[in-house]
């Protein structure tokens, strides 16, 4: 670290919760009825971060490759279940497997490439680098696939007549859904592309902010930020393309007939 990090004391931390109280005051006053969710969210956030803080201290101190891999595996499992929860449409077993497979494949390939080729980390499993980078890659890929699943399922539902119309003419399912698949891919990757546009002007991204707060030179921080943004873009694209290429198949049976997800 290049500089001294300002520590936040206990009472200073407590004082930050005034923002939550302020929000609670507003929703109660206006009878919006969100008190419970806000309280739970604030408590969960605190508890989860405290826990993860201690876990990370342990993992960082141990510096064991197995533990780093285990941590990433847990992250991926959590991401997969989070996608299932986020998507409101019912998903069949095949689609769930495709979701898990695409995030697993896409995020891991991108992460490995990023660690070995882009930042050439030595040793490759250095948890202080690998875990935060994996978190950003997996987290963004999770959002991308959630959007992909949603747009694919909505498209299949709304364009049902067109899909069947194409099948009636002897189209392969792949041909019949080509536009829907392309549009799902586009909708899922667009937020990542858009976020790059505002970066540095509208907001300073989290990782860069974190590094600057810990005293790293902004010039070093932007190097990392640019690299990680490109890594995220690659991972989101890879996960989503793998998902849509295989995902549409879950909507058809072996007789090339549309099946219901319900």
């Amino acid at each position: 670290m290049n500089g001294q990090v300002e520590q936040i004391g206990l009472w200073q931390m407590v004082s930050a919760y005034i923002f939550v109280l302020f929000l609670l005051f507003i929703v109660r006053r206006r009878k919006i009825g969100r008190e419970k969710e806000i309280t739970i969210a604030a408590l969960r956030m605190t508890l989860q971060l405290v826990l993860v803080g201690y876990v990370l201290v342990f993992v960082f101190d141990l510096r064991h490759p197995g533990l780093t891999v285990l941590y990433i595996a847990a992250m991926l499992v959590f991401a997969v279940f989070n996608i299932f929860r986020r998507v409101k449409t019912r998903l069949n077993r095949q689609l769930k497997l495709i979701i898990a497979g695409s995030i697993g494949f896409g995020a891991l390939v991108s992460l490995i490439y990023f660690i070995l080729v882009v930042i050439m980390l030595d040793p490759w499993y250095e948890p202080r680098y690998v875990i935060p980078i994996a978190g950003m890659i997996v987290g963004n890929s999770m959002t991308g696939i959630s959007l992909g699943v949603k747009h694919l399922a909505d498209g299949m539902k709304q364009q049902r007549e067109h899909i069947e119309g194409a099948l009636m003419m002897g189209a392969q399912p792949k041909e019949a859904v080509r536009d829907i698949v392309n549009s799902a891919f586009d909708s899922a990757t667009l937020p990542t592309i858009n976020s790059m546009v505002g970066m540095g002007i509208v907001f300073l991204p989290g990782m860069m902010t974190g590094q600057i707060l810990s005293g790293v030179s902004p010039l070093t921080a932007i190097n990392y930020q640019i690299a990680i943004m490109l890594g995220i873009l690659g991972s989101v694209s890879l996960c989503v393309i793998v998902f849509v290429i295989f995902g549409y198949r879950a909507f058809f049976n072996k007789r090339a007939q549309l099946v219901s997800m319900e």
């Binding site: 007549e161 009636m168 003419m169 002897g170 189209a171 007789r255 007939q257 099946v259 219901s260 319900e262």
Partner: protein
């Protein structure tokens, strides 16, 4: 995804179908189709049905009688829960569904128009049918003539009227040169005169090209005018089958 009772048949283990006992399929070289027992979630229950080759067969009946379901079964968009369907004596359940649909084309009730020109809309059928080469403008104009759509190929398909869209959709099928043409009430949303034109075009095409045409309708006068064979469906079963009115 919205619940579509039809698709439930493809999910084993769900008891949405009534099991029935069926007779043995009778093979008959002269008949195009044999429907030997079809149950479709109480929609269809047909002990046996033969549809003649190279004729215009009208499937007639009230809405909800199972007419469209019957067509979808023939196009293999749906599979019967029990019993069998044969095309020229061959059980379609053993055929590649895509290959079958390329031989037995179906026109849906609402005309499907894709973004782009009339030419694009005709060519998309070629793409769907797996052919590599799009026909030239001359061939495209010819099918438009057959379908009585006199519009330049560059016309934006979105600007066409309902009847014109249906004629475009029909022309797209003509271009694919099917063995069997299934029309699912092609005129439901059209006015009387347009309705007749669309059907008359399909019938003329079928007669000239010696194709089998199977057409769903709930309009008695159209059935009387065009139907060489009539299958009347009522409450999911064949209530009358035989020759129609004046051929």
């Amino acid at each position: 995804m919205a619940a579509m009772p039809h698709e439930e048949g493809v999910q084993p283990g769900k008891e949405v179908f009534r099991q029935k006992h069926w007779g043995r399929a009778v093979m008959d070289e002269h008949k195009l189709y044999q429907l030997n027992g079809v149950v479709y979630k109480d929609i269809l229950d047909i002990p046996e049905l033969d549809i003649p080759e190279n004729k215009v067969t009208c499937i007639y009946g009230e809405s909800g009688a199972g007419k469209s379901t019957l067509l979808r079964l023939l196009n293999h968009l749906l599979s019967p829960d029990s019993g069998s369907i044969s095309l020229r004596g061959v059980d379609i359940s053993g055929m590649d569904p895509i290959e079958l649909r390329r031989r037995v084309l179906m026109l849906p009730q609402n005309p499907l128009v894709y973004p782009g020109s009339i030419r694009d809309n005709l060519n998309i059928g070629i793409r769907f049918s797996g052919r590599k080469h799009c026909p030239g403008d001359h061939a495209l104009k010819e099918v438009l003539d057959t379908s009585s759509l006199n519009k330049p190929l560059d016309t934006d398909a979105k600007t066409l009227s309902g009847g014109e869209k249906q004629r475009l959709a029909l022309a797209r099928l003509f271009l694919l040169d099917p063995e069997v043409l299934l029309l699912d009430e092609p005129s439901a949303s059209l006015d009387g005169a347009t309705e007749r034109t669309v059907i008359a075009n399909a019938v003329t095409y079928a007669k000239e090209q010696r194709k089998s045409l199977i057409m769903v309708s709930h309009a008695q006068h159209l059935v009387d005018e065009f139907g060489e064979a009539v299958v009347e469906l009522a409450r999911g079963t064949v209530s009358r089958s035989g020759k129609g009115g004046s051929p």
